[in-house]
């Protein structure tokens, strides 16, 4: 009996190694696709396989949690799949680490892509990934609240002054005009406050990443603009404990009348409180200046250790036709021709689409996590009332400079 069992185990393990080895055949393309797009990924793979006999697309579903570590481990170990979906911001690191192959020969109609997306995945004069999904924040607002405050819900604020005036009018009887974040994960506040610094011509670090520039008058003015919503009582008292999700909850509860977020918040709000008449606007900019936003989204990369780069490149070209890119993305496609598809012809989405050309990448620096932490601590010191904006940003600037040396 015992022996039989043992033999059984042995046979099983041999079988599994055999299947593992034969798992990736010459015509196989292994594609790591995130779980939120799994169904659409399968549809596209079926379509491609129907038209290209001999190629087998194998989808392995990934999840957002721990994905960067998983991708890096797979690439470093040399046992990577053929195609991986990654966030734009990660691509530069892979390219510099010699872990992926350039895709200049794969990308078609380069001029059709949103320029910022291409810039995000370019390094050393080459394109290292194919961006397919892009998104930025806009401002979501409650149209009924606008009406009750005597504002025209169809003419949302365009400039900083307009926004402050609107927030002041909206703030009354337990309602707050414009919610900002000051707590939770650092990223929440970076995504919401950094664009204001950019709009005003400032930045956290200089373009060559050698100098911290957070205490420049432009940056300080923008940080003051952001934090004043709380200091002047136009944002909730709980601002220091609020992240993006908390703002959404407060918006759903009718406590906050407007806040910055992406279009992915819209379905969630509608589901939980269908009575809210939703509006969306571009993020207001200083008078006479252009708006800005942090560009987020996803790209395809081909690892250097991919078994089947030739077939993978062909498949990528199929995935990135105007039609297919528009079908696959969760938010917006990176191709301007794809945005014209009927799916994106929604008045609610329009302001978010108009924000896209103003989307900018965040710098790629090895100490970026610490840099934004220092900046975030500075924002919190202002919100707490510990320091003036100038003093706080001076201190943060000093800390960031130490991280750049």
């Amino acid at each position: 009996m015992k022996l039989l069992k043992l033999a059984g185990f042995f046979a099983l393990s041999v079988l599994s190694t055999v299947t593992m080895n034969t798992g990736a055949q010459a015509g196989d393309v292994v594609w790591w696709a995130p779980n939120w797009g799994e169904e659409r990924a399968r549809t596209l793979a079926q379509k491609y396989m129907a038209a290209n006999a001999g190629t087998n697309i194998k989808i392995e579903v990934t999840v957002a949690n721990g994905l960067p570590e998983r991708v890096l481990t797979a690439m470093r170990s040399g046992a990577a799949p053929d195609i991986i979906e990654v966030q734009h911001g990660w691509v530069n690191g892979y390219a510099q680490g010699d872990l992926i192959v350039p895709l200049d020969d794969t990308i078609q109609d380069k001029e059709d892509y949103v320029k910022a997306a291409i810039n995000y995945v370019s390094w050393n004069g080459k394109i290292w990934a194919m961006p397919y999904r892009i998104e930025t924040h806009g401002v979501i607002y409650n149209k009924d609240h606008f009406k009750e405050a005597g504002l025209d819900p169809e003419k949302p604020p365009k400039t900083w002054d307009d926004l402050i005036a609107a927030a002041k009018a909206l703030t009354k009887s337990g309602r707050y005009g414009f919610g900002i974040t000051g707590g939770g994960e650092v990223g929440n506040t970076i995504f919401r406050s950094l664009p204001f610094i950019w709009m005003n011509g400032g930045d956290i670090i200089s373009p060559d990443m050698k100098k911290a520039v957070l205490n420049s008058p432009e940056a300080v003015k923008a940080v003051e603009f952001y934090t004043n919503f709380y200091k002047q009582g136009l944002a909730p008292k709980s601002t220091l404990e609020n992240d993006g999700l908390a703002l959404r909850r407060l918006f759903i509860a009718g406590t906050v009348s407007a806040y910055q977020s992406g279009q992915f918040d819209l379905p969630a709000i509608q589901k939980e409180n269908p009575n809210i008449k939703l509006g969306a606007m571009m993020i207001p900019a200083p008078a006479g200046k252009q708006t800005a936003a942090v560009l987020g989204g996803w790209s395809y990369v081909i690892p250097k250790s991919a078994k089947n780069p030739v077939e993978s490149k062909k498949f990528l070209q199929f995935l990135n036709t105007t039609e297919n890119q528009g079908y696959y993305t969760d938010t917006f496609p990176a191709r301007t021709s794809s945005i014209k598809l009927p799916r994106f012809d929604d008045s609610m989405l329009k302001p978010f689409a108009e924000m896209l050309p103003y989307g900018r990448p965040v710098p790629v620096h090895k100490n970026w996590v610490k840099i934004v932490q220092a900046y975030f601590d500075g924002i919190q010191r202002i919100l707490l009332g510990d320091q003036s904006v100038q003093k706080s940003m001076d201190e943060a600037n000093e800390e960031i400079q130490a991280l750049l040396n």
């Binding site: 000051g182 707590g183 909730p236 709980s238 996590v369 601590d377 919100l383 707490l384």
Partner: protein, 285 residues
């Protein structure tokens, strides 16, 4: 020969112990004096980790956190124990209920308290404003002078039942004769507490306090789950700083250097404490 047999039997366990305890300790020491390439760098990590302002701030926060927690945990715990030692109806039930905070998992307690303290949705502000005790909601977790006391309050709530149950056990070992003798001499209840109970449970309190100090020095759950050390590092304690360095910034060497220094400070505190408070045998008050 015979004495060697014992060693042979203990050896497997000793090897496992060595791998699980001694090796990590020595490896941390090694990490603290090398860089991420494994090259020896002397005290560079130490100076790098001491430079940022947050290190000093974290040390002060840690001292406040430990001192505040211990003081109230012991005070409340001993008081509760003395009360629970009285004879009254339903005593067993009350004793069990009193243990609940200690039994609840730390992360569950922390998340629940975070919601209760929330400025907008929290029940604490709701109760205080609806009864008229406060005119408007207070940002307990977002004001610099309330956030640390709030954290300490949660920690006290969580652990005073443990003190109470230990002290209660100690109280029950006091022989009835001592109380009788005290009463014969005309002692009041408070004199019984002062001259009979407290001296008798002193060893228990000493041991429990030492445990509490070590726990408070290592406590990360409550603060990290609620404020992540914020706002503006107001609640960062050294263990949280070590955690951040290692797992958010992936600076294992600097994290190891800070751990080594923290370990030394903790050892000093524990040694000083046991020298000062440990009861001498045969001591009578």
């Amino acid at each position: 020969m015979k004495s060697n047999t014992g060693l042979v039997f203990a050896l497997p366990a000793l090897i496992v112990l060595f791998m699980l305890i001694a090796y990590p300790v020595f490896y941390t020491g090694w990490l603290s004096v090398t860089n991420d390439q494994g090259q020896f760098t002397g005290l560079q990590n130490f100076s790098a980790v001491l430079r940022p302002r947050v290190t000093t701030q974290a040390l002060w926060n840690t001292l406040w956190w430990v001192a505040g927690s211990i003081f109230f945990q012991v005070l409340l715990g001993v008081t509760a124990a003395i009360l629970l030692n009285q004879n009254f109806m339903g005593r067993a039930l009350v004793r069990s209920i009193a243990l609940i905070p200690w039994v609840i998992p730390g992360i569950v307690a922390a998340t629940t308290w975070a919601w209760m303290f929330h400025t907008e949705f929290g029940i604490i502000n709701y109760m205080l404003t609806s009864t008229g005790a406060l005119d408007e909601p207070v940002g307990w977790l977002t004001r610099s002078n309330t956030v640390m006391p709030a954290m300490i309050a949660i920690n006290v709530w969580k652990l005073f039942p443990f003190v109470a149950i230990m002290v209660l056990a100690g109280l029950q070992t006091i022989p009835q004769e001592l109380y009788e003798a005290a009463r014969m001499d005309g002692a009041s209840y408070w004199e019984e507490v002062r001259h009979v109970m407290l001296p008798q449970i002193r060893p228990v309190i000493t041991a429990v306090t030492l445990l509490l100090v070590i726990w408070a020095l290592n406590a990360i759950t409550i603060i990290y789950a609620i404020t992540r050390g914020g706002p503006a590092n107001r609640t960062v304690i050294t263990p949280i700083q070590i955690f951040r360095l290692a797992f958010e910034n992936v600076e294992f060497n600097q994290a190891a250097a800070l751990s080594v220094m923290f370990f030394a400070v903790v050892m000093l505190i524990v040694l000083a404490y046991s020298k000062a408070f440990a009861s001498q045998p045969g001591e009578v008050q």
